[in-house]
């Protein structure tokens, strides 16, 4: 006896969309040679220079150790710099380097292209509906936990 068919599970469809999104963004980010999480971090760093890694992790929706991994790779590539905070000695301020900004802008062009193509597939009403329904998903699922 099958408990619940995959096509009936809303989660299956969410996962599929997310997978397609990740694949499309990854392809679009290829010219900039960054991953999706790296791009997300670079984008927030451009908007909030000097932010702490923990705060950046919250913005990106990942845990601090995860962000640590991402930042480590960005640092090794010279796209960011990390300097100790003036009086909060335990805090590292993270900033884009010039090259980091350039890479971010290249990556952003690709990412926005994907988002625009995605948005173009919906009417304004449908887009609002989709966002509202997805929001309710997240809300219900977070409450479940």
């Amino acid at each position: 006896m099958t408990s619940m068919a995959p096509e009936e599970r809303i989660g299956s469809h969410v996962k599929r969309a997310e997978q397609a999104l990740l694949a499309a963004k990854n392809a679009a980010l290829k010219p900039a040679a960054v991953t999706v999480p790296q791009y997300a971090a670079l984008l927030w760093l451009a908007e909030k220079p000097g932010i702490s890694a923990a705060a950046l992790a919250r913005l990106c929706g990942v845990t601090p150790p995860t962000m640590n991994t991402v930042l480590k790779n960005l640092h090794e590539r010279g796209l960011i710099e990390r300097t100790p905070h003036e009086w909060h000695r335990n805090v590292l301020e993270t900033r884009l380097t010039d090259e980091g900004r350039a890479v971010m802008e290249l990556a952003d062009a690709g990412a926005v292209r994907v988002e625009r193509a995605l948005a173009a597939a919906f009417t304004e009403e449908e887009r609002a509906q989709l966002i509202a329904l997805l929001g309710r998903c997240a809300e219900v699922l977070d409450a479940q936990r």
Copy 2:
């Protein structure tokens, strides 16, 4: 100049819903001590005993090396067994063990509970709408690539 606000990006909302889904399922799967990908593999294995790893990978929407990793962990826990195919000597037939079936059923109970709670947050019409909109997302994004 900001290229596109995060809240305007449909992708942001898809990602958020997927993250919440993953977290909720992970919590629901804790009693069975399996991960979401492991559960997905077990569920398909129950329905298609003796399936090859590559075919299972396709069903689960991952690559063969990824499925290899998942199966390796399941095998080490004794939840599956892999035997050479009768004449296709290069093919390994994968099946649930008795313990694997028991774990799958325990995991399934948790997963279905999450799916039911999720479905309960929507009317039948909304559910159909959400699935249709997500389907269009996947379609457009796959075409992008």
